[in-house]
């Protein structure tokens, strides 16, 4: 009897904090993006997208027992793995976040995943890390890592299709010297050569240099119908384009996602008329609904803003589906909420989704970017193909 009493008391004591945690009014989600560094012009809208989803869930009051979701921002710097690791460590250990929306660039994302997320069992969903190296075919990530941006292996194939359809058989490639650039350039070269094209040169450029005439000299010497610049729009990319235009080496370019941004139009305008490019994007109704939801708050078409909304939404829906905010519990639910079967969920319908999950139903999250998780937890990816027309970035079609 005494033993039973003891055991009951112990149970009650242990259950106390557990209940308290369950009823806790707040769950924190880390938003780790490069607020400083080479893509600092993109990250504010990405963070705004993620925080929009969190606000929507909080306002609905449907998450678990009416929990509020609080975003905690941290700076990944995009390039400095040590700083990004320290920032993520802080999020997990001192802020006590229950999930991470981020990081952005592939190199720091890999660093955070292996140094912080895996040791601490933290789920992270990246909206923009696209390196093929982050595809974990053998579960090295313990099922903790997801991304709402497609792998660059896929972007390489799409890029090949775009160029081949334009009738371009010979290109020169220059990439920014990091995981993202190299991964993309290599996957493109493989796909392009398999499709019968020729890559005359595939060479790196360092970001942050004043002068790229030597790099462009080598590219020009190798020749090609078009120059593929797999760089960053706020870093060395425009320097390469400027030097290529100035020396008359190339007139038209092909820009992958990192190079497409408002500043590209502003800097070059009609000088790069006829250049092509692609970035993740979709013509699913989700994108329009997302734009409507965002309104004038920020630029909804800015790269990866929709992906960030989706990443944050997936985290919270998975929590609801698993009935727990603990990463170890809800990590396996991410696939369930992202894919069929279930009711299709578009931006602005998170409250509805939470209700369905609460009632034991099933949802198929589509979101702003037509999320469909494949393989080890990355989106299959649809792309928006663009062309520079009249000095403006114009959408030609979706792939």
């Amino acid at each position: 009897m005494k033993k039973l009493l003891m055991a009951t008391t112990a149970m009650a004591l242990m259950a106390g904090p557990a209940f308290a945690a369950g009823h806790g009014s707040e769950v924190k989600i880390g938003v780790i993006l490069g607020f400083t560094g080479p893509i600092e012009s993109l990250t504010p809208t990405m963070a705004a997208g993620a925080e929009l989803a969190m606000k929507e869930v909080t306002d609905s009051g449907m998450l678990l027992q009416g929990m509020t979701v609080t975003p905690v921002r941290a700076d990944s710097t995009c390039v400095d793995s040590a700083a990004a690791t320290a920032a993520a460590e802080r999020l997990v250990t001192s802020d006590g976040v229950k999930g991470i929306m981020g990081a952005d660039c592939s190199g720091v994302t890999g660093a955070i995943l292996s140094n912080v997320a895996v040791p601490n069992g933290m789920v992270m969903i990246s909206p923009s890390a696209t390196s093929p190296g982050l595809t974990h075919a053998n579960n090295e990530d313990n099922g903790l890592f997801f991304r709402t941006a497609p792998s660059d292996a896929r972007q390489g194939e799409v890029m090949t299709q775009v160029l081949i359809e334009e009738g371009i058989k010979e290109v020169a490639v220059t990439y920014t010297n990091n995981d993202y650039g190299k991964g993309l350039a290599d996957s493109f070269q493989a796909a392009f050569e398999a499709a019968g094209g020729t890559v005359t040169i595939n060479t790196a450029h360092e970001d942050g240099k004043a002068d790229y005439s030597a790099e462009v000299g080598a590219l020009a010497s190798a020749g090609g119908d078009r120059l593929v610049v797999a760089g960053y729009v706020d870093q060395g990319g425009p320097g390469i384009v400027r030097a290529a235009l100035d020396s008359g080496a190339f007139d038209t370019f092909h820009f992958p996602d990192g190079m497409i941004g408002a500043s590209l139009e502003e800097t070059f305008g009609e000088e790069i008329e006829g250049s092509t490019g692609q970035l993740p994007g979709t013509d699913s109704p989700g994108a329009a609904k997302y734009a409507e939801l965002v309104g004038d708050a920020f630029d909804a078409t800015s790269p990866y803003a929709g992906e960030a909304y989706d990443a944050a939404a997936l985290l919270m829906l998975a929590m609801q589906a698993a009935g727990s905010v603990e990463p170890g519990d809800y990590k396996s639910a991410v696939f369930d909420v992202a894919n069929a079967p279930g009711e299709k969920i578009y931006p602005g319908e998170l409250g509805k989704a939470l209700q369905i999950l609460k009632d034991g139903g099933d949802v198929d999250y589509v979101g702003a970017t037509a999320v469909e998780l494949i393989g080890s937890g990355e989106t299959a990816g649809s792309y928006r193909q663009i062309v520079i027309e009249g000095g403006k970035i114009t959408t030609t079609k979706f792939r």
Partner: protein
Amino acid sequence: MDFLNAIVALSNFVLVPAIAYGSQLALGALGVTLIYGILRFSNFAHGDTMAFGAMITILVTWWMQSAGINLGPLPTALLALPFGILGCVAMLLLTDRLIYRFYREQKAKPVILVIVSMGVMFIMNGIVRFIIGPNDQRFADGERFLISAREFKAMTGLSEGLAIRTSSVITVVVAVIAVALLFWFLNRTRTGKSMRAYSDNEDLALLSGINPERVVMVTWLIVAALATVAGVLYGLDKSFKPFTYFQLLLPIFASAIVGGLGNPLGAITGGFVIAFSEVTITYAWKKVANYVLPESIAPDGLAQLLSTDYKFAVSFVILLIVLLFKPTGLFKGKAV
């Protein structure tokens, strides 16, 4: 026709960029060499002095642009240059008064002054970033091209284009004027001669009544002018970003040492030697070779000796070779 194309391609990608870059390095190296010759230490703060002078010039340029003052086809920065030089002079005289003079009076060893100059470098670097920010700044205006690649092709009917940017031409012209003025000053004027005397033998110069503080002051004046001109020309031709000026330190020192530290003529030669080596060694010669060589022996590969990533390594290797085999440099400067 093929031969002409080869020459044009070579000029476009090697000769024109290398001449402009060489002029910028030569101006920078002249400043380093003057300080070494007269004040007897290697001034590590030189790159950031260039950035500081360029920064003042940029700020004045922006003000002029907003006030609608311009030089038509020429960049407004040329008009702002004198103000930049004045600002840089003030800065250098201030650091001399606050820092270097103390060590001069102590008769500090050159190696101590080198370390001191590194401290100055960090402070100056911080000031520049604090005032204008660490990012790229654009201040070039006026005509971008003297002749653009497309115009050249249309004019000559060649398949290769030759682009000559206004900034490259201005760089070379201004560099020639600056160097001519400097040599005239050093060889023809009384002050210049007293500076050379002071450089050759300090004690003898003092005995013959030369005022050392005056020589030091004039040296800083000239260095400020050279550094600002070099900094502004580099910024106009390429782009202004504080960190790249810090990185310029290596090729500038390599130029000064290759030519022979303390020898102005050597600094100029060194600047061009370094610039041409950097550009030619990292250039992919495929295109030129394909024009000139008969088809049977034309290369398939890029014919590139070193990837462009190793640009700075080139100046470093040249520096090592010179220090190993001819420590006084090409023009008999002082041994390092």
